[in-house]
Symmetry: C2
């Protein structure tokens, strides 16, 4: 009972009226209503799609990669694709547009919502920016946004517009074009410019600010952006927990602080590993590179418990609209960490099964009923897409939080 109440914001109760082609109520018939998708975005980074969709996977690896993607599709309804400038356009003027379009379309065809990550970031940015003046860098960045946001409109309508701005102007590990222009524009200034440009070329898109910094720094930055009139559609929060699970207390504290803006929150990059913890003294996660970081049975149990707890807290929170796990499989995972839901051989870890149970069973609706004299059957279910089956006929509909009754023509 208390669990249902905690999820009330994820559900709706609605009268579904069935009529025939002539508009007459379909009376006294058995119906089955089965949820086929969630409104909530259960996402994952899935860069492997690019080679598969573009048929670039070596023959001896194809079955393996296809199996991996099947398991991805069994669980998730959202994907993040990489748009790191330095990789997307390694050579100036030769963007990997076609390849990424093919990947995005592959996902879209399979009912997966796609996010592009990121349009502006100081890491993995184009090295050739370093040969430009700051004015030229800014123009190149604007052109990049115009080109990519336009080229992917309809395929990708959610963007991490700008990434890690808290550290951007003081990032000093190596010189790069984006840090240079962020110093000129200031933090709020560069966010303002990048959001304005992205909005211009895809006004309906969902635009995120994204950061790994969950301290007061990020709060103050968001506060400044909102007061400066920047329209942020969702606050992106990274949660790479290679150094240990935040735990309930920190998770709730972070949610509490970032909820104060009243904006949707996306957990954009979640990592919970099934291996030993990265030492706490490592400041930049990228500095921890080891030859072998094994997934162990003991830690797989821990990961499953943490995944269950964390996803439950996030799904229960009214402002969270998306959770994206960063690495789907240990095969190719960031930093070589055992951060996936699959092991390197594609076998499912307990975390995969736990999450599948949550998404596909506990938080999914499968309802059987009988239409009344008005042809109405009442559905209380989780928000999302449904398939209604009656007398061998199949109709699709969407269960939304708002709106009147739904009328379906069989």
């Amino acid at each position: 009972m208390s669990k249902v109440n905690m999820l009330a914001h994820r559900m709706a109760t609605k009268a579904i009226q069935l009529v025939d082609a002539s508009g007459n109520p379909v009376v006294g018939k058995e119906v089955e209503m089965k949820q086929t998708n969630h409104e909530f975005l259960f996402g994952c980074g899935i860069f492997d799609v690019i080679d598969v969709a573009n048929k670039k996977v070596p023959a001896d690896r194809l079955a393996f990669q296809e199996e991996k993607l099947d398991k991805f599709l069994d669980l998730f309804n959202a994907a993040t694709l990489p748009f790191y400038w330095g990789m997307f356009e390694q050579e100036e003027g030769k963007p990997r547009t076609k390849e990424l379009q093919t990947a995005a379309k592959w996902l879209k065809d399979r009912n997966i919502s796609v996010k592009g990550h990121p349009l502006c970031w100081h890491t993995l940015t184009a090295p050739w920016l370093l040969d430009m003046t700051n004015e030229e860098i800014l123009r190149a960045q604007f052109d990049r946004i115009k080109r990519d946001v336009t080229d992917f409109k309809g395929l990708i309508d959610t963007w991490d517009v700008i990434n890690e701005v808290v550290i951007m102007p003081i990032f000093d590990k190596y010189d790069n074009g984006i840090t240079r222009i962020s110093q000129d524009l200031g933090r709020v200034g560069i966010i303002k410019e990048m959001f304005a440009k992205t909005r211009l070329y895809n006004p309906e898109a969902t635009l995120l600010l994204n950061d790994f910094n969950t301290s007061i720094n990020y709060e103050i930055l968001i506060d400044g952006c909102l007061n400066a009139g920047i329209s942020i559609d969702a606050i992106g929060i990274q949660s790479h927990q290679h150094q240990g699970y935040w735990g309930l207390e920190k998770l709730e504290e972070v949610l509490d602080r970032f909820s104060s803006f009243g904006l949707p929150i996306h957990f954009t990059e979640n990592t919970l590993t099934s291996g030993h913890l990265m030492p706490a003294e490592i400041e930049d996660l990228n500095d921890y590179q080891i030859p072998e970081w094994p997934s162990t049975e003991e830690f797989e149990e821990r990961q499953a418990k943490e995944v269950e707890e964390m996803y439950t807290v996030l799904f229960e929170h009214p402002l969270v609209e998306a959770v994206t796990t960063w690495s789907f499989s240990d095969d190719g995972a960031w930093l070589g960490a055992p951060a996936g839901f699959l092991r390197k051989d594609n076998s499912e870890k307990p975390s995969y099964q736990v999450l599948k149970k949550l998404i596909k069973e506990d938080w999914s609706t499968n309802h059987q009923g009988k239409t009344d004299e008005q042809g109405v059957v009442t559905l209380e279910g989780f928000l999302g897409d449904y398939e209604l089956i009656c007398e061998g006929e199949k109709v699709s509909f969407k269960l939304e939080g708002s709106g009147e009754r739904v009328q379906l023509v069989l």
Copy 2:
């Protein structure tokens, strides 16, 4: 030579033409030009003025307090007076307006520029705000600004509008009315409101944002405020160094970071003690209360060196326009620290003498010259007020960075 260059922004070279009452040049006369005040604000907290100006000092202490103020007047040209709401208006509706006006006038009559500190702060705020709704607290805060800024216009035209906003909404040592409304408005929101109201009632005033937090938090907050269109006249930086002198490196690093906004910088609350250092593990300086915190000869020498170095760096920095030392004397100093330029018996510490030499000798101009055939004598000097003496006559003028030659009528 290099020293002169470092101070070029504090100086001007100008032709001063002397004419007689009929407008004829005063030719070939010896003139003496003596600086009487600085454009730069050398300030100090000097709350003792209130009782002296209001004749409330016990008879047996009056000579002592007068001696203290004489030494203050010998050194400084700016003062900070306290407007802590909980002390200024301990009982609702009974503000200490008259007393503070008398004190501000006492200072103004002695050519001391006065700043009011602060109009909005969560510490030392009026306890009776706690009985109000948040809407009422905000209205009371607005009314307070309207009343005090209006009542002191002309006497006090510089205000620390709002103090320590970085910590304000998360301040949790005790409940208070200002933290409550800062949570409603957000950081940039409360700054925006308080600046707007202060500006409304004294459009020409110099308005400061002030904070002890010199981290990236404060940078991001200022960036947000500026992007939100808040017109901050000067960035206030507190530098209470009870736990040890920042040193050149940190001082220059802080100046560097806060210079990026191109705004004037005021060091609003400077403390360098002549005693042992407060332990580093103390987080809130207010938590360190000891019965006796002696000033020692050894540490007085250290303080003098630190004062000399710090004031020199600040005076050389083109964006710094004011330095205010928080405690003029150990007698009554904040936290009982030996933080003054005077010892408890009014005797001058080496720091007093060092600073006096800087302000009154090294950075002060006293020029003798002879008018030429046009009655002109050239003055290269530090910006500020001057007295010109020629043939027993005395004329006052201001040496400013901009503008044409100065014509004076003897």
